[in-house]
């Protein structure tokens, strides 16, 4: 029988954030990272069970392109890896939750003219929520994933989420949405690995067939990578005006919802810009079916703010007064110096220098050095270069 139990996180020891002898649910996508993460959990002496999350009811049989988590082939890869590790393996159907909490949210966000990050939503609502809650109820102590991020015990004995050892692979940004409660049961065995090449080499050494499987980059529920087509199918694609910041019509689009702020390609503008410089999407207004474009500097924001605020640990002591930090607004973007403060439930962030690439719907993750502090979903921005 599965035993009940709680994680006993040892405190006061900066190098060992995880309890010993945990019952670990290893979420196995079929990729190399989660397979090696599961293997390391086994090596660490935990009792590990592999679980592949089926996130779509109608799955295609074979992987195409750079996809790597949602096909039957991926499920089979995960199963073979689990067998190799000598751990039990199950496929759990989370397709309904995934549809409701991730796919529909993704579509609704675009319908509202915002730019969502579905991987973040999946971590927040599926992997470290629905799956984690179910795992705990079934007697597990922790959920392990192949994310590149580190959990360490900080000076005050609290669990802290930090960037991975290797900057290029660091995935702490997409985990920035996790709360202290969720992190208490998270396990990232790859966190301290200096490079992906080492993970692949380790997979090969362990005889895992996924050692050379390509990385996945795109959105897993849009297998052909055609996000615009996916959105057009769900939100319609009626022609509408592309306007400049003065309201003059400079082109025609085929469906406002499929655009993202900062986009430059695919605008097909009929009227050249007066200054001859490239133009970018500045804002999207699906209700009026309008897209507004302008020069690059108009994308830069002096302030960004959002309501849905979470913290990976305690709320910073000087949250009301404001505190210095770094802010990152995209998974593959850089963190830049900023000041942040909580005012009336809203997290308001002022980058020290104007910040590009921040749009409503994206997540602003705050860092203190390598440590993730918390995040908000951006609801509004204030341009650094008003018209």
């Amino acid at each position: 029988m599965a035993r009940s139990g709680h994680v006993r996180v040892r405190t006061g020891c900066s190098s060992a954030p995880y309890a010993e002898g945990m019952r670990v649910l290893a979420a196995m996508s079929g990729g190399v990272d989660s397979a090696v993460a599961a293997a390391r959990a086994v090596d660490a002496g935990h009792e590990v069970v592999g679980v592949h999350l089926a996130l779509s009811r109608q799955r295609s049989s074979l992987r195409t392109g750079s996809r790597g988590c949602c096909t039957v082939e991926d499920a089979m890869d995960a199963r073979r890896a689990a067998t190799r590790l000598g751990i039990p393996f199950y496929v759990w159907d989370f397709s309904e939750r995934f549809r409701d909490d991730v796919i529909e949210d993704f579509v609704a966000e675009y319908a509202a003219g915002r730019t969502p990050n579905p991987c973040m939503r999946c971590n927040e609502r599926i992997k470290f929520a629905a799956v984690l809650e179910r795992a705990l109820a079934l007697g597990f102590d922790a959920v392990a994933t192949g994310h590149y991020a580190s959990l360490v015990i900080g000076p005050e004995g609290e669990r802290e989420l930090h960037r991975a050892a290797e900057d290029a692979k660091d995935q702490s940004y997409v985990l920035g949405v996790l709360t202290a409660e969720q992190l208490a049961h998270a396990y990232f065995p790859l966190g301290s690995t200096p490079s992906k090449a080492l993970v692949r080499a380790e997979a090969e050494r362990r005889g895992l067939t996924v050692a050379h499987k390509p990385d996945s980059y795109d959105i897993c529920f849009i297998p052909d990578g055609d996000t615009r087509g996916f959105l057009a199918e769900r939100l319609g694609a009626d022609d509408g005006p592309i306007l400049d910041r003065t309201g003059a019509r400079v082109g025609t689009h085929r469906g406002a919802a499929a655009f993202t702020v900062g986009q430059r390609k695919g605008l097909e503008l009929g009227v050249p810009a007066s200054d001859g410089r490239p133009r970018f999407v500045l804002s999207i207004h699906p209700k009026r079916n309008e897209v507004v474009v302008g020069p690059r500097e108009a994308l830069e924001v002096a302030e960004l703010a959002g309501q849905r605020v979470t913290w990976t640990g305690r709320v910073p002591a000087d949250a009301d007064a404001g505190f210095p930090c770094d802010v990152q607004v995209r998974a593959h973007g850089d963190a830049v110096p900023a000041r942040a403060a909580v005012r009336g439930g809203e997290l308001v962030i002022h980058p020290v220098a104007p910040l590009g690439g921040a749009a409503p719907g994206q997540t602003a993750v705050l860092y203190a050095g390598t440590r993730v502090l918390g995040q908000c979903t951006i609801d509004r921005t204030v341009s650094a270069a008003p018209v």
């Binding site: 939750r97 809650e133 179910r134 079934l138």
Partner: protein, 394 residues
């Protein structure tokens, strides 16, 4: 040690079958060769065929050996459809009850996509029994357009035995052949081909204690099928070198199953009833699905739905505790979808997700049943907590 309660998925290879199979595998000879080695192999094939025929009350010439149950079902459905349509192009209608096994539903769906078939679904009642009146009405409405009727003998999931003779009699009024997927029923309930009135019967070896990839389509001598496989025409409607060792194994397994049925069926049914009684006492709000009347149900089948739990969780917890069971639902590449049978019986998706199928076999013991009953209440409680925890998130 694992307590194996998933005999409907596959049942252990019987020792005497394994020995006969291994002996046959060691001998050389193509059954179609003329020399003595070939003649020996032919003898193995034909002996096996005769044993299958005897076990199912059919003529040996009516037994077409296949590489498993799915091939048999495909040959029965597609082969009969093609042959009937070739004789009369108007015969394009196929009557099928809802909630059939995928071998059937995918075969008829393929015929609809590629061969202009029109599939007419016959409803099931709340116990999983096909609606005879609906079948009669469908036959009477377009008697000359119906190519065939296909049904399971008994549901592989909920264990409900279908009114095969009655259905065959209805079809016979219009000269329509009935194919029956007997894969879950043979070895569990008496199956007599000759007196059933059906045209074709599919069976699979691995549900009888023979190896996987052995099976047969029993095809009445008055019917013909267009083949799926083209080649040396070794059997009526089925090309390919006959699997002599497989025929030996299938023949022996079928013979043993038929001979032992009068003893095993009541014994397994008594164990199944002990299990169901225990479940009623320990998990009173679990609901038995399928026909509660032992006469209308496979003896080894215990199928319940547990309100507030889901099959994935129940299966995981029971597996961790050493019990191999099934959610019963069609498992498509590892993903369990809500069971089409349960949906056809009128259950909603949430209820259907709480399905747990335990299937007993000849090797099941009282101690195993009691061991399952011992852990079941705690498993159910925890599986419910897991669903509640997952649901409670905003």
């Amino acid at each position: 040690m694992t307590v194996y309660l998933d005999h409907a998925a596959t049942t252990p290879l019987r020792t005497e079958v394994l020995e006969a199979y291994a002996r046959a595998l060691r001998s050389v000879g193509n059954p179609s060769s003329s020399h003595r080695a070939g003649q020996s192999a032919r003898d193995l094939v034909e002996t096996g065929r005769e044993q299958v025929a005897a076990a199912l009350d059919a003529d040996p010439v009516e037994v077409l050996l296949t590489a498993g149950g799915t091939e048999a079902v495909n040959l029965g459905i597609k082969g009969l459809y093609w042959a009937r349509r070739a004789a009369d192009p108007a015969r394009r209608r196929i009557l099928v009850p809802r909630g059939e096994h995928a071998a059937t539903t995918e075969s008829v769906a393929w015929l609809a996509r590629h061969e202009a078939a029109e599939v007419q679904w016959i409803p099931l009642d709340a116990l999983g029994r096909l609606d005879l009146a609906a079948a009669a009405a469908a036959l009477d409405a377009h008697p000359r357009e119906v190519a065939l009727v296909s049904t399971v003998w008994a549901s592989n999931e909920v264990g409900t035995v279908q009114p095969i003779r009655e259905l065959a009699a209805l079809a016979a009024r219009h000269g329509v052949p009935v194919h029956v997927d007997g894969i879950g029923a043979v070895g569990q309930v008496p199956v007599a081909f000759r007196t059933s009135g059906i045209a074709a019967l599919s069976i699979a070896g691995h549900k009888l204690g023979a190896p996987v990839s052995t099976g047969a389509l029993i095809l009445g001598r008055e019917w013909s099928v267009e083949p799926l496989l083209h080649g040396g025409d070794q059997q009526r409607g089925r090309s390919g070198t006959e699997d002599a060792a497989g025929a030996v194994a299938l023949g022996l397994a079928a013979e043993l199953a038929a001979r032992e049925l009068p003893e095993t069926a009541p014994r397994v049914a008594a164990l199944r009833d002990r299990l169901l009684r225990g479940i009623r006492e320990r998990v009173p709000d679990a609901t038995l699905r399928g026909d509660p009347d032992p006469g209308g149900r496979l003896p080894g089948n215990a199928h319940i739905t547990v309100a507030g739990a889901d099959g994935d969780g129940l299966l995981y917890l029971l597996d961790a505790a050493g019990f191999a069971v099934s959610t019963g639902a069609a498992c498509r590449a590892g993903v369990t979808s809500p069971s089409p049978v349960l949906m056809a019986m009128g259950l909603d998706e949430t209820t259907a997700r709480g399905a747990l199928r335990m299937t007993l076999g000849g090797t099941t013991t009282t101690a195993e049943v009691d061991a399952l009953l011992e852990v079941l209440p705690a498993v159910v409680e925890r599986a419910r907590a897991a669903v509640a925890a997952s649901r409670s998130l905003g």
